[in-house]
């Protein structure tokens, strides 16, 4: 119930507190001797060249958007799954329609060659 979720809040706060405490603790023990070379961006010992920002492949985005769609689908299936046994065969057919419509999308992406990395 609602009060159960107070535990979540406490956990989040204690977790953050734990990390901050450890970082503080290490601040006491650790040396601090920064110099420009040490603080430069690491690039396998070479001088960093160019901006770190690279034009990334839009392909990453395509996987992310497919994830969004299927994640929403999974969320819709959760309440369905809980109530499944009490709903009977009708629910099964409903879900089958729901899934097959989305699987069509997956098949489309597959056919268009979007699931390939190249």
């Amino acid at each position: 119930m609602v009060s159960d979720f107070a535990a979540v809040a406490v956990f989040l706060i204690v977790g953050v507190g734990f990390v901050l405490f450890t970082l503080l603790l290490s601040k006491i023990f650790r040396p601090s001797d920064p110099n420009p070379i040490k603080q430069s961006t690491y690039e396998c010992g070479e001088e960093p060249f160019g901006p770190s920002w690279i034009q990334f492949n839009v392909r990453f985005y395509i996987f992310a958007l497919m994830f969004v769609i299927f994640d929403v689908e999974a969320i819709f299936l959760f309440p369905w799954a809980i109530a499944y046994q009490s709903l009977g065969l009708f629910a099964f057919v409903e879900m089958l329609i729901f899934i097959s419509i989305l699987l069509f999308g997956l098949a489309y992406a597959w056919k268009k060659g979007l699931l390939k990395w190249y």
Partner: protein, 103 residues
Amino acid sequence: MTVGLPHFLALSAIVFCIGVYGMLTRRNAVGVLMSIELMFNAVNITLVAFAHYITPQDVTGQVVAVFTIAVAAAEATVALAIVLLIYQHHKGIDVDNVNIMKW
């Protein structure tokens, strides 16, 4: 003073108006989309608050909120795809400079 329905509605109104402000003033297209997500969320707060306080036995408000979230997700995927496309063409996503729809 105990917190009740008006508090939730007022909070929702504030978040919604912040979203409106962001949508009107942001130059970055992704920023505009973020403001829209804020507005979606404000609406969801209202839906759930009404469902909780006015019809506690009926979870219809929550069902509608789930649909809102689904619609928001669909909207975000398409809108961000458009943003990326605009970026490819204009090398920037400043909404003030995107006027291809004018002609």
